[in-house]
Symmetry: C2
Subunit: 186 residues, 2 copies
């Protein structure tokens, strides 16, 4: 089962039992099977409402139904519950629910956010993000290459209008160094 599918299933399950009425229905059915009308009276709700909740619970296979005369008798599907009972909340299990692999995804997302059509939407304010973007920017230049300031400005302009800021940051992060009038990619 894919991670996404697993997330969805778990999420769906929590959503469904994260409702007072449905949780109580499960509670009642845990001790004995019941008809719709009985549940309605016991919970002080209308029959349509109970019927609605039971339909939801049946979709997740948490309850089952049999017809008995005019009555529809519902009971708890204990096996389905037991299956969910094991280690749902262990930290390892939870980690698999992370949208993607947390570590690498972070840098990628930052870049994806700040880069539009190969240009910078802005220079990130926070150090952490700025470093990521600037590192990418530096990678657009060949290592060890020497460039006069005029040439560097011209190429930086393709990424962002504030070329002075970009130059300064590149040096700050030790991605480039300045020697007299020449900039060199480190």
């Amino acid at each position: 089962m894919s991670v996404q599918a697993q997330t969805d299933q778990l999420l769906q399950f929590f959503k469904i039992i994260g409702n007072e009425s449905r949780l109580k229905v499960l509670g009642l059915l845990a001790s004995d099977e019941r008809s719709v009308g009985e549940l309605a009276i016991l919970l002080g709700l209308s029959e349509p409402t109970i019927s609605h909740h039971l339909a939801v619970l049946r979709e997740l296979d948490l309850v089952a139904m049999r017809v008995d005369g005019n009555n529809h008798i519902y009971w708890l599907n204990t096996t389905a519950l037991e299956a969910l009972n094991r280690n749902i909340f262990s930290q390892e299990q939870l980690a698999t629910l992370a949208p993607e692999e947390g570590g690498r995804a972070w840098e990628a997302k930052v870049l994806r956010y700040y880069l539009v059509d190969g240009r910078l939407r802005a220079i990130p304010a926070t150090q952490k993000k700025r470093q990521i973007v600037l590192r990418w920017l530096a990678d657009q230049f060949e290592k060890g290459q020497d460039l006069p300031e005029a040439e560097l400005n011209k190429r930086l302009k393709a990424f962002h209008p504030d070329v002075a800021a970009l130059r300064r940051h590149l040096v700050e992060f030790k991605l480039m160094e300045r020697k007299s009038n020449l900039y060199r990619r480190l």
Copy 2:
């Protein structure tokens, strides 16, 4: 802890994690601690939204926070999760979530529903409920007591206008018997 409190706590917990964003936040924090801004980018949500969710999670002690410079770093409170991990969905555990003790409560609720100010709101249509209500009605008469039909009618009228139906049902359920013109409570 009272049953009610237990229900509430469990319900609250399910409600809180029954939300895609919050579940994903927990998933991310399961692998590493994160600042608000990081979570916002990783999940593609605004910082206010993330901040809001974190406040909710913190209320349940599912996450903790420390201040680091301008950043607020959140991490998973694993002990709180482990506490919840044990046998939440066992059938016995679930049964304790029933609104009250299922068995006796049923009859009481039916009576409470049909009796308003000592009178019957209606004669229940279903056999099961009708029997409960009629049994209560019969209990309003002394056992072994003999009553002429006129007297019985008079007393039944205090409970419901359709005295003929009540008389018939009382006999049906063998709660009273008719001998010539006399009704006797059995």
